[in-house]
Amino acid sequence: MSKEKEQNQETAISRRSFLKGVGTGAVAASVAPTVFIDAETAAAAQTGEEINRAKIKLNINAQTYEVEVEPRMTLLSVLRDGFDTSGNRLDLTGAKPICERGECGGCTVQVDGKAVYACMMLALDAQGKQITTVEGLANGDNLHPVQEAFIQHDALMCGFCTPGFVVAAKSFLDQNPSPSHEEIKEGLAGNICRCGTYPFIFEAVKTASRKLL
């Protein structure tokens, strides 16, 4: 029997009031007087200055977006839900929020050529870096060989994990152009597919590797 239960039995029924977390702190932080840093200052800020909100520039798929962010915003949230300073949605919804805890790979994007989880990177930390999302892999209508191979081998079913897998596979092949079967498995171990398309993903990566060589 649990401690909580024992206590409950002693005092018959406990009466509780529950305020989720330290709610007042949340408000204080989210509506605090804004220390606003513009894009140029933010990029150069080495001064110990507090940033509560900032305009930053993000280079995504070779295009520069100016966005206004709170420090807590992740790169993933800006890609999917962010607006540029002209009020247009970025609407880059290719990277998917699946676990939001860096456990599934659904939001994999490339940052300076390396695969990272966009859900576990602050947007502020992505400043000054080259970000490539799944939307940026094809050249017009010409798909990247990894994308072509995923279609050819049916390396996708519901497709929700697919953008993350495609970017992870592309990044992996950038580093290891001619991998073994075991290396492919290790290289993609940071992504999950619940439909279980893995065997065909492995085939696709092998085919893409041959095309890219």
């Binding site: 989720k20 839900d81 699946i98 799944v134 939307e135 279609i151 929700f160 953008p163």
Partner: protein
């Protein structure tokens, strides 16, 4: 009478065709519900109970409502009512950003009187345990008893007996796209983008809830990120999204979090069964006495199969459900079967060993009671045994030498999946040559969109990519069933096929006089229409449809039960390697031989079999919802401690889409059934110690090896 014709005449049916949605999915263009962004859209977020059992005494939304950016806040439970599991809905907000919505939820103050709870099944059965359901006398449902033959006579005849207890944990669906909706009102018209397996079911449910005529509700599911049985209606979250949208006067997106998904969006019930079984010296399975239960949380259903696949003349079963303070079960990929199959196939091996019989031979001797299925299953045994190298298994379980020991085992399954009437569809041929196929089904990742295109293209002599398939939308008013029970293809394909046939007939009738041919002599193939009796009489498709002028052909179809079949048999063989020093089980190879009736798209069928095996592997080796008795909480509501298979777990999978009849059947569920039993038996064959409890994790192996 409609038929799928001979294999030799099929240009597309049975071939490997890439998914039509492939390009959109690999480029990120495919918009799932989670990706729908509407102008002025708000983000919804639900406050959930942090405790397993309590009476809510008050909810104060004022602080949340006062937070800048919050546009609506609503209670989801009335004071005085009970919450009966961690995660149950209490209130919800909609705000201009996801972060503000989450902040606002944390400002909602609520009071509750905590009640004693129980999250452990064995404790829930005890007298004096906190009562969970008002409609049951205790936490255990009235057992359902089923008796055939003469159980006592059966045991009297038995030469050997086995008694064992098997257990399988609660598994959660882990849909990668969480449950969720985007709801938008235009006066009294509601449009909902839903991550659902049933656009029409969701429409009906929402229309009833908001007391609207069904034609004032539109449900759209263009792409959908996995359901596995858990996504058949709007649920609390869907209704909440629509309520918030109405209150705020703006579209609302409300998607569950990963934790919510584990807690509230369904699960496969657990299974605990005690079984006593007997067989005769000549290998007849003669008696089976089983008593078992499972938990579906606060839900009522926790059934499982048994006896299963194999014919047992004398049996008695007693099955019940046990309620605990946890989220309700929902249908999950072959409900009841994987847990029942794991127990049954483990038992078959245990009996065979007592009889000193080859487990495969023992199965052959105790055939499936259905004649067709048995014929197929016997052939599958032969095929699978050959492919895995059944002769390589350890004659004496555990007799391998060395630190890493290999073993081979097998398991079986059966499933319905034949579909049914009730789908409406239209195939339209435009004068431009464009062809549309429209129906109210939805593609939940199975590839039905591509299958529809293949069937129409085969009939009209076109390529699949020439067909525009419009599904996942209630707007055209062509209803279809929810995609569950592996029923989609069996329900949809016959209607599409007959609609395409009708459209073609009509086209032929239209152009026959113009080309001076008998309509019955016309054929469609290779982007042309030609006369069979005079091959010189051939005109390109677009020229032929051009004769339609201002006319458009649009034909419906009929469900034809002769085009589909159910009751499929499946057999799987597993080879594992166990590191006896670490307890790790590595699956080396799975051979899945699955009765597929008529395979339409061999490529996507193999994907389905692969995927079902992978989910079965997770069930066998990794997955388990873990409830903590001290706190009443699920302690692993994430993807770190709730472990689903990743790349490193994947063995060589030989998926054999076994062609049997020239009739279509659904294949989403059946191949996930035999996997856990096959793996469990392979583990035993490797180490000579039987693990009767899933998942088979290293701690269990090491404890068993002592």
């Amino acid at each position: 009478m409609a038929s799928w014709g001979e294999a030799k005449d099929s240009r597309l049916i049975g071939k490997r065709v890439s998914r039509l949605s492939g390009t959109d999915k690999v480029t990120g263009k495919a918009k799932y519900t989670f990706d729908i962004n509407r102008p002025g859209m708000l983000y919804g977020y639900i406050l959930r109970s942090p405790v397993a059992h309590a009476t809510i005494t008050g909810i104060d939304l004022s602080e949340a409502e006062a937070l800048p950016g919050v546009k609506a806040a609503i209670p989801l439970i009335e004071p005085g009512k009970r919450v009966r599991f961690e995660g149950q809905e209490i209130a919800a907000v909609a705000a201009i950003t996801p972060d503000i919505a989450e902040d606002a939820v944390r400002l909602i103050q609520f009071d509750y009187d905590e009640l004693d709870y129980v999250v452990d099944v064995e404790s829930a059965k005890e007298e004096g345990a906190p009562q969970i359901r008002d409609d049951w006398k205790s936490n255990q449902s009235e057992p359902r008893v089923d008796e055939r033959g003469d159980i006592e006579a059966g045991f009297a005849e038995a030469a050997v007996e086995v008694e064992a207890t098997y257990h399988a944990p609660v598994q959660t669906h882990v849909c990668l796209e969480t449950h969720g909706h985007v709801a938008e009102w235009d006066q009294d018209n509601l449009t909902v983008w839903a991550s659902t397996q049933a656009v029409f079911g969701t429409r009906q449910n929402l229309a009833r809830h908001f007391e609207l005529p069904e034609n004032q509700v539109r449900v759209i599911t263009e792409h959908m990120g996995g359901g596995f049985g858990s996504k058949f209606g709007p649920g609390v979250e869907g209704v909440t999204a629509a309520k918030l949208a109405r209150k705020a006067g703006a579209p609302v997106k409300l998607m569950l979090t990963r934790k919510d998904e584990h807690l509230v969006a369904g699960n496969r019930p657990s299974m605990t069964q005690q079984v006593r079984a007997g067989a005769t010296q000549d290998g007849r399975f003669i008696a089976y006495d089983m008593s078992g239960y499972g938990t579906g949380g606060i839900g009522s259903g926790a059934g499982f199969t048994g006896p299963y696949v194999y014919h047992v003349p004398n049996h008695r079963t007693k099955k019940s459900a046990v309620a605990i303070n946890a989220g309700s079960a929902r249908a999950m990929r072959a409900p009841g079967h994987p847990q029942g199959a794991f127990a049954m196939d483990s038992l078959m091996d245990e009996l065979a060993e007592r009889l000193n019989l080859d487990p495969l031979e023992f199965r052959r001797l105790n055939s499936d009671s259905d004649a067709r299925r048995n014929r197929i299953r016997q052939a599958e045994y032969t095929l699978g045994a050959q492919e895995i190298g059944w002769h390589r298994r350890n004659r004496v379980p555990g007799s391998g030498t060395g630190v890493k020991k290999r073993g081979i085992g097998m398991g079986c399954g059966l499933w319905g999946g034949g579909g049914g009437a009730g789908t409406q569809a239209r195939v339209t041929i435009h004068a431009s040559g464009a062809v549309e196929a429209v129906t109210g089904t939805q593609d939940i990742g199975t590839g039905i969109r591509t299958v529809i295109a293949m069937i129409v293209a085969e009939e009209l002599g076109l390529r699949p990519q020439d067909i525009t398939v419009k599904i996942g939308d209630t707007e055209p008013g062509l209803a279809s069933r929810g995609s569950g029970g592996s029923q989609t293809i069996g329900s949809v394909a016959p209607v599409i096929k007959t609609a395409a046939m009708a459209a073609k007939r009509k086209l032929f009738g239209h152009i026959a006089p113009l080309v001076e041919a008998d309509p019955g002599d016309l054929r469609a193939a290779g982007d042309k229409i030609y006369a069979q009796s005079d091959l010189r009489l051939s005109i390109p498709w677009k020229e032929a449809t051009g004769y339609l002028g201002m006319e458009t052909i649009s034909e419906g179809g009929e469900w034809d039960e002769n085009l589909r079949i159910g009751d499929v048999a499946g057999v799987q063989f597993a080879e594992v390697e166990i590191d006896t020093e670490t307890g790790l089980v590595q699956v080396i190879k799975i051979v899945a031989v699955q009765d597929c009736g008529l395979v339409v798209n061999r490529l996507t069928t193999e994907s389905q079999i692969n995927g079902a095996v992978v989910m079965g592997l997770g069930y066998a080796l990794l997955e388990e919802r873990i409830m903590d008795d001290q706190t009443g909480k699920m302690i692993n509501p994430n993807l770190e401690d709730y472990k689903v298979p990743g790349t490193m777990e994947i063995p060589e999978i030989v998926s054999i889409a076994y062609d049997t009849d020239r009739k279509i059947t659904g294949i989403g569920e059946p191949p996930t059934i035999p996997t856990a039993g096959a793996i469990a038996n392979a583990v035993y064959n490797a180490i000579g110690v039987r693990i009767r409890e899933l998942p088979i994790t290293p701690d269990k192996i090491l404890n068993a090896l002592g």
